[in-house]
């Protein structure tokens, strides 16, 4: 509109100028001075704005008119010139705008004007373009940053995805390990249980052994006291046997004397002849009895000797038995002590096995919980992996978008 405005005025002026010759032509053929005006005006209308009414062709009186007309024509020519210049500047600005729009070239805006009417407009455009340039520069920079950030995000996301996958694998492995650990702890618990059972049995056996050793020691003491009694009895027996020996000696002596007496009686009887015959027979019988007694006492003496030897052997045996029972008691005491040690050790073993069993059961429970937790973690990690995959995809897309944005922004030349 504003561009049209300068045209309007010359047009109306031209029209009015055209009107004037038309009015002059219609007014029939003008005289010669008028002809100069008409020709000049026609030439101007034809486009030669330099054409002027020559003052020599006008007559007197027409000089004033020519001078005025020439002034009008001068004004018209300068106006036309101004209009032309303005149109050129507008064209130049339009060209710049077109190239801006077509190629995004903001650098080509270098339009200046001296036209006071176009000046503010172009200045406004320039400001707008300057602003656009600033924007483009910033956007460019931002796009570059975005691109690098997007790349970083992509890299980070890829790395995250990788590490998440690795984590998933590690978690899977850990779960498997925990599963094995669970089985192992179950095995340990079972073994500890059997150890506890065996220890319990051993404990029972050792207790029985302790009881048996106690009985053994008692029996040994009994045997020892019995042995002492036996030794006493043997000593008494020995004394009595000695007494029997002295008695037998007396009997022996008497028998011997009887033997002699009977013998002498027999001799007396023999000397008495027939009368002493019966007496001799009785004496011989008596002598036989005495001999029998002597034989018996001899036998008794032999028996006493045997008994003496036997009692000596028995006394020795009793002594040996006493010392044997004493060492048996000592051994029994040592065995009892050993069994006490065994009992204590087995008790400790049993307790330890029970504790191990308990601990492994707790461990198994804990391991099961860990396995469950690991399953949850695995699930979460799977989701994380999924998410990180999506994030990687999104980051890749973002990188592409950033690249494209940078590409697009590159089309705008700011400098």
């Amino acid at each position: 509109m504003s561009l049209d405005t300068p045209n309007e005025k010359p047009a109306s002026k031209a029209r009015s100028a055209r009107k004037a010759p038309a009015n002059k032509a219609s007014a029939a053929a003008p005289p010669a001075p008028l002809k100069a005006f008409t020709d000049t005006l026609l030439t101007v209308l034809a486009g030669n704005l330099q054409a002027r009414v020559p003052k020599e062709l006008v007559g007197e009186g027409g000089e004033e008119m020519a001078h005025l007309l020439n002034q009008v024509l001068d004004n018209f020519a300068s106006s036309e010139h101004r209009k032309h210049v303005a149109a050129q500047e507008i064209d130049q600005a339009l060209d710049a705008l077109i190239s801006l729009v077509r190629e995004g070239d903001l650098s080509r805006w270098n339009t200046t004007t001296e036209d006071p009417q176009l000046g503010p407009l172009l200045e406004g455009f320039g400001k707008v373009i300057e602003t656009l340039r600033t924007f483009v520069r910033e956007i460019n920079e931002a796009a570059l940053r975005l691109s690098s950030s997007a790349n970083q995000v992509l890299a980070a996301s890829t790395q995250h995805e990788t590490s998440s996958t690795e984590q998933a694998a590690a978690i899977h492995e850990t779960t498997a390990t925990m599963e094995e650990l669970k089985h192992a702890s179950a095995q340990i618990a079972e073994n500890a249980g059997s150890v506890a059972r065996v220890a319990e049995e051993t404990l029972g056996a050792a207790r029985a052994g302790r009881g048996a050793i106690g009985e053994f020691i008692q029996a040994m003491q009994q045997i020892r006291s019995d042995g002492v009694a036996v030794a006493d009895s043997i000593a008494k027996l020995s004394k009595r046997v000695e007494r029997i020996g002295t008695v037998v000696e007396v009997i022996d002596e008497i028998a011997d004397r009887s033997d002699l007496l009977a013998l002498n009686a027999a001799l007396e009887g023999s000397r008495a002849g027939e009368a002493g015959k019966g007496f001799s027979i009785v004496a011989a019988e008596m002598r036989r009895l005495a001999e029998n007694v002597l034989d018996s006492t001899k036998e008794i003496k032999n028996l006493i000797t045997e008994i003496r030897e036997a009692t000596a052997a028995a006394a020795g045996a009793a002594e040996a038995s006493k010392s044997a029972t004493e060492s048996g008691e000592k051994l029994g005491a040592v065995a009892a002590q050993a069994v006490e040690g065994i009992l204590a050790g087995v008790q400790e073993t049993s307790d330890a096995a029970r504790v191990i069993n308990l601990a492994t059961q707790q461990q198994r429970t804990a391991t099961e919980q860990v396995v469950a937790s690991m399953a949850e973690i695995e699930d979460v990690t799977r989701q994380t992996t999924q998410a990180s995959k999506q994030a990687t995809g999104a980051a890749a897309e973002l990188t592409q978008l950033a690249a494209r944005l940078a590409e697009l922004i590159k089309r705008f030349k700011a400098d």
Binding site: L260, L263, L267, S270, E274, R287
Partner: protein
């Protein structure tokens, strides 16, 4: 004397002997030659007597010489122990003690069982009346001619 009386008295003549053992030898002495038997006890050795006189012992107020038959017959040596017997033998005027290890007793031996002593035997044979066979060779008994034996002993003792 006594044997003759005994033979005359019995249809189947017997003679009673006082039988004893000393060392390994068994002897029989006619019972009428034996007065008494007692324990040997302690003997008192006698100087300047033959070795077969073991010593003297007191008996009923008499001192009697004690003869060791084994030494006298050169058959060893008698030993006196707690059971050793001593019998008093008498023949004629001679009375002597004789050492015996064991007295077997008085035995009546049929005269027909008495075998004569071996002729031309050793020194012992000349003092034997005879020999009685036993069931074994050990059971055999030498029947001593006690009278002759004591006389010989006396002669030897005096000869010294």
């Amino acid at each position: 004397m006594a044997p003759d009386r005994a033979v005359a008295a019995q249809a189947r003549p017997e003679q009673e002997f006082f039988c004893f053992r000393v060392g390994d030898l068994r002897f029989g002495v006619p019972s009428e030659n034996v007065l008494e038997v007692f324990r040997a006890g302690l003997l008192t050795p006698l100087p300047r007597t033959p070795s077969f006189i073991m010593g003297v012992t007191g008996h009923r107020g008499e001192v009697l010489p004690v003869v060791d038959l084994l030494r006298f017959l050169s058959k060893g040596e008698a030993r006196i122990g707690p059971r050793t017997r001593l019998f008093i033998g008498v023949t004629g005027s001679i009375v002597a003690g004789v050492v015996a290890d064991t007295v077997l007793g008085l035995r009546r031996i049929p005269v027909s069982d008495i075998l004569p002593p071996p002729l031309g035997g050793d020194a012992a044979a000349e003092h034997l009346l005879g020999v009685v066979q036993g069931s074994t060779t050990q059971d055999g008994i030498n029947l001593l001619n006690f009278h002759k034996l004591l006389q010989t002993a006396r002669q030897r003792a005096v000869a010294r």
